[in-house]
Symmetry: C2
Subunit: 380 residues, 2 copies
């Protein structure tokens, strides 16, 4: 095992009708709430009205920023931070999926200072203080609800980057699987794929740690058992619950105990697809992962065969493992080639340039320009 | 799944030579340190001198309380708290295993008030403030390093009771597997058994939660793989590392996600063995667990057969599962009958009275006096 530090201060409230204690929780931090949300689904579902009515009844002063995009952009972060500053908010209430909660993390450290949000990604600003975040999760996918990470795009610079600090864990996250019952088919599938990809990024990192490997296999097997069931019955509370819980466990730190780093090269490459063509995050991962495994299988020892054999409970080669994993992604309805996404023109060169520009790389499997070309060739 | 709240603020520092950052960590809390430790092994091993020299070199003011017993008693807690009060300590540095760290948790909440420590177990005192605890673990077993629980005996009252509050998590715990290399054979085995028993207490609780069940099986399988290897090679760092990590995971909350309660009836019954005959905690569990499973197998559905089948990778009945688990405990060198412990006289009636007196019970499988008699009959 590699030396590691485990730290996760988020309080997770999980289950049916778990929002009943939301008001009490917010009150711990003060009375002025900045509500942050996305592009409409929380209004359509009635959740927005329900929360807003509750907050007003309990006497909170509420300011708000709606319209966070599903691949979130830094302009929204800055606009929301300005509102938070103006209203001297005590706490951020983030209602949504990864994009809203990730954005809120940067908003939370940007409010106390005058810097634009992007300064945290470049290192120009340091996170030294943060407005506490309480999150209500409406999409099971990224695990942001129980980790400090935020990924935001800056289109002016052509970059999609990650930031995290011990200050950017949500203080509390409320997970009611019932709130995910209306997530559409495609985003449900992307969520399952995303959580599996998070486990893979840990699996392909550095550090031999048998128990943590067992945890990783546990989470992926759970997703492979209940993901397909959920795709066959999108309104099933029980399946939503299993997937929501698995998604949180997939990126709350436990898959990293005993490793010095994950790989994250697939995420790094996938971000270019989102940046250039607005490919949903989960879809970018199911496109890049099979290609990445095919490209690196000669260099990564028996980790791919180990993974496939553990997941499918039979002795598989690396090639068989990759084929099975790819087939599983397809069975969910996820794309496994960029051509599945109907991108106009020939994106290969633009993607290569974006990979060069954003310095796509992994923590374990290092990438050079020839790897970029090989990867693109495999997933186009 | 049952609704649940997950919260664990402990920072775990795990790995080889991890103590290098101890001083910096302590400094976060102040300069006056109360050192709490046990009956001599930390002095024999040289750890005490090493820590004490380091603390003095870094300018800490150190007061100390040594002599915590391996089944810890409330008198030591009160004596240590008095020293802590007298020296206005800023932080407690607990060096040892479960007994030292559990005692330190009560010391930490007792120092700020005038109450004797037992008042926290009876509810007479509430934990409203706590001196922060930094722990250095020297025995892989109880999981106390990453949970809020403390179990202490009060011989005057004939009770061994548990306490825990959100304030009694250690702030930081340092786990260097190298510090466990000198743990003797019997306590090494009891530690492995203890961590397995913690998993079982979760498994036999209330709440159907497939992923958490996978986590439980993962931890027990790890212990069943590396426990016997360790017993065959007590000075193997790698095996010590696997078991130390597994012991922490076995009781840091993750085995309880999606359950409303664990069972803990076996712990409750086992405490009477420790209380009356000073049976080591882990040994009390390997004595009671087979008996408990044999007694309750008709009432607990297929959970025993499920457990055995998952652990041994073949379809087993409940009776076969119990036999295999018992055989595994024996293979470690753990007792599975009280007669293995050379208790003088006929302890049956005294144990029954102690179970009645301490109101032994489980959170799931409820016990009456006839259950006590049946259990005792099965493990004597």
């Amino acid at each position: 095992m590699e030396n590691f530090i485990a730290y996760n201060p988020t309080t997770l409230h999980f289950g049916k009708n778990i929002l009943t204690s939301l008001g009490t929780t917010l009150k711990e931090y003060g009375n002025r709430v900045l509500l942050v949300y996305g592009k409409g689904s929380v209004k359509k579902s009635g959740l927005y009205d329900r929360i807003m009515d509750g907050l007003k009844m309990e006497g909170f002063e509420v300011s708000e920023y709606g319209g966070i995009k599903s691949n979130p952009v830094i302009e929204d972060v800055d606009a929301a931070a300005a509102i938070g500053r103006e209203h001297h908010v005590d706490v951020i209430l983030a209602i949504g999926g990864g994009s809203v909660i990730d954005s809120s993390k940067i908003i939370s450290v940007a409010i106390p200072v005058q810097n634009p949000g992007w300064d945290f990604f470049t290192g120009k600003a340091k996170a030294t203080k943060a407005i506490p975040i309480v999150a209500i999760l409406t999409l099971a996918a990224t695990g942001t609800e129980m980790n400090p990470f935020a990924v935001v795009s800056n289109h002016a610079l052509g970059q999609k980057s990650a930031f995290g600090s011990p200050l950017t864990f949500p203080k509390h996250s409320f997970l009611d699987p019932g709130l995910t019952l209306t997530v559409p088919r495609d985003y449900t599938a992307y969520g399952v794929a995303d959580l599996i990809a998070h486990c893979f990024e840990a699996w392909f990192g550095i550090g031999e740690t048998t128990l943590t490997d067992r945890f990783v296999i546990s989470i992926v097997k759970e997703a492979m058992e209940f993901g397909p069931k959920l795709m066959g019955d999108l309104h099933n509370y029980d399946y939503r619950e299993r997937i929501m819980f698995a998604a949180t466990m997939a990126l709350n730190g436990m898959t990293m105990y005993g490793r010095s780093t994950g790989d994250w090269g697939v995420h790094s490459a996938g971000h270019c697809l989102s940046l250039l063509y607005d490919v949903p995050h989960g879809a970018s991962l199911t496109i890049v992962y099979p290609a990445w495994m095919r490209h690196f299988k000669g260099q990564i020892g028996d980790r791919i065969a180990q993974l496939g054999s553990a997941l499918f409970d039979e002795k598989l080669t690396d090639v068989e493992s990759i084929d099975r994993i790819e087939a599983f992604f397809k069975s969910l309805g996820c794309p496994t080639r960029l051509s599945d996404m109907n991108i106009p023109g020939e994106p290969g060169e633009a993607l290569f340039q974006s990979m060069v520009h954003t310095k796509v790389n992994g923590g374990h499997m290092k990438m050079q320009e020839e790897d970029y070309r090989a990867l693109i060739g495999l997933y186009l």
